[in-house]
């Protein structure tokens, strides 16, 4: 099977001899290692085992006549690795295209881990913003609304919205990474593409967060003032000034506290204390 595809693809893909086919790359983007990036996660070397397993089959092909080279390559790819999981196959593609050149002696073996390390930071920054701050929040907003209405499709909608972009990125990323190879870093840095993409993603993330701080904040201040006809609550006055103002205030207070390096776990505990005190005296609901 594999060798058939190889013969078809080879002439049009590269002038040079390449044993790695598109099918190999595709498979690696959905194999046990690629999908299990966080399964064997440890504080020690994080995703190193899964990364090695993701590329192992292709390493075997590249070093099919070189047992020593294969073993060294396996060990190389057991180095510390950590990334937003959906970007892992992209880095795998880059690594494999470099390994082909390492096998030919064109570049130093150590270089591949330098490149992997250089990709981890920026890609995780952009990946966490896309997947955690944007797609996950949108998926959760849709899913929560359905769940609150008692619709069992809520969790399914959440999973679909969150995962379809991720799997697309895995499958596309591994091919793109292989194609770009080591040249990717220079190209991306020169064009300033990474910085632009990061800013564009940030804008989406920020606007979503801004919208969510109105939509998903329910605490109110039910203190009553005035008597009879004139009676109103602080909440009504606040809503009159600007709807959602309390959620926005809470957002920026937390934002400021987090910037002071206060642990989120402490903020959770203090919020619970505030909630209890507020409920007891009736100034929060």
């Amino acid at each position: 099977m594999t060798s058939d595809t190889e013969l078809e693809v080879k002439p049009e893909e590269t002038q040079e001899e390449s044993v790695i086919t598109k099918k190999d790359l595709f498979r690696s983007s959905l194999n046990l290692g690629s999908l299990g990036m966080e399964f064997s996660w440890t504080y020690y070397k994080q995703m190193n085992l899964a990364f090695c397993l993701m590329v192992a089959k292709m390493l075997r092909k590249i070093y099919r006549n070189d047992e020593e080279g294969y073993r060294a390559a396996l060990e190389r790819h057991l180095a510390f690795f950590n990334i937003t999981v959906q970007f892992a196959p992209f880095v795998g593609g880059v690594a494999i295209s470099m390994e082909e050149r390492i096998a030919k002696g064109e570049i130093e073996p150590e270089r591949v881990n330098d490149v992997k390390a250089a990709l981890m930071g920026p890609l995780s920054g952009i990946g966490d913003s896309i997947f955690l701050a944007v797609i996950r929040v949108i998926a959760a907003a849709v899913g929560i609304a359905l769940c609150e209405a008692g619709n069992p499709f809520g969790p399914i909608a959440f999973l679909l919205i969150y995962n379809i972009p991720g799997f697309w990125l895995r499958i596309w990323g591994v091919q793109k990474g292989y194609e770009l190879g080591v040249g990717f870093l220079d190209q991306a840095a020169n064009g300033g593409f990474m910085a632009k993409a990061m800013t564009a993603v940030s804008i989406v993330g920020i606007m979503v967060v801004g919208a969510m701080s109105v939509d998903m904040f329910w605490a109110t201040i039910p203190i009553e003032i005035g008597v009879g006809e004139e009676m109103t609550t602080i909440q009504e006055i606040l809503d009159g000034i600007m709807p959602g103002i309390l959620g926005m205030a809470a957002f920026w207070i937390y934002y400021w506290l987090l910037s002071k390096k206060i642990s989120p776990n402490w903020l959770i505990i203090w919020t619970m204390v505030l909630g209890v005190v507020g409920a007891f005296f009736g100034f929060l609901a």
Binding site: L132, A139, P152, M207, V276
Partner: protein
């Protein structure tokens, strides 16, 4: 009861096995709680608890060095207790965060032994023993699943009475207070995400998103689509900005001539 405990344990284990399936985020309360509801025969409560806890744990994501409370075990157990004790969402909310913090601490107990096995994988690589590396990967992961199974199933089996006692003992205003806190805490989650993406230059976009939602009532998905369009326009990410406008301008010009 034992059957129920096993089922609850299995839901927890599935939450951990999710990390082998591509980190699908099945381990989040919004998926875990409805599943717990399903196995305990009360899907509606499961859905309601799932929605509330998903928001409560909005900021419970590992960014940088922060290891968050374990929302999976917190979600599974608090939902299971709420359903089997015929309590509402408030009880689940009150229980979820303490359980999640406790599970985080328990999970860290085994952390010191893993480097030994991870180094074993290096030896396997030196010997060309790929199967050995698979074994280490699956061993570490499946141990995690077993841990989730035992914690969720075991705590559910042994804890129901104790939890009932705790809930009876806690005064009502404390439970209400936890409910209030759960209404506030999503803001912390968003602030954590904000720390990830906000830079001084981009602060106005926070208010743009806020205003579109607060005054125009556009749902979050709509705000995201507007934001994507702004991002594409601002950086000309689709390219061809030079060609496109000039063509359309030319066409408009033609139209004007006809009049």
């Amino acid at each position: 009861m034992i059957l129920q405990a096993i089922l609850v344990g299995l839901v927890g284990a599935l939450g951990c096995f999710d990390y082998q399936l591509g980190t699908l985020y099945m381990f989040r309360p919004i998926v875990m709680c409805p599943l717990v509801g399903l196995v305990l025969g009360d899907l509606q409560t499961g859905l309601a608890v799932g929605a509330s806890l998903e928001l409560l744990f909005m900021g419970s994501i590992s960014i940088g060095a922060y290891v968050p409370p374990n929302e999976t075990i917190g979600g599974v157990l608090s939902c299971a207790f709420a359903i089997s004790l015929h309590q509402g969402t408030e009880a689940a909310i009150a229980l979820a965060m303490p359980i999640a913090v406790l599970s985080l601490a328990l999970g860290n107990l085994t952390a010191p032994i893993w480097p030994f096995f991870v180094d074993k994988a290096d030896t396997c690589a030196k010997n060309g023993n790929l199967k050995g590396i698979y074994a280490v990967h699956l061993g570490i992961g499946l141990y995690g699943c077993l841990e989730y199974f035992v914690l969720c199933g075991g705590a559910f089996l042994l804890g129901v009475e104790a939890v009932q006692g705790i809930l009876d003992w806690i005064p009502d205003f404390v439970l209400n207070g936890f409910g209030v806190a759960a209404n506030i805490l999503p803001a912390m989650g968003f602030a954590m995400l904000g720390r990830l993406v906000i830079t001084k230059k981009l602060v106005p976009f926070y208010f743009l998103g806020f205003v579109i939602c607060a005054y125009m009532g556009v749902p979050v998905l709509g705000v995201a689509i507007i934001a994507i369009i702004i991002g594409i326009e601002k950086f000309d990410l689709l390219g061809g900005a030079v060609d496109a406008p000039s063509t359309s301008l030319a066409l408009e010009g033609d139209d004007d001539d006809d009049f």
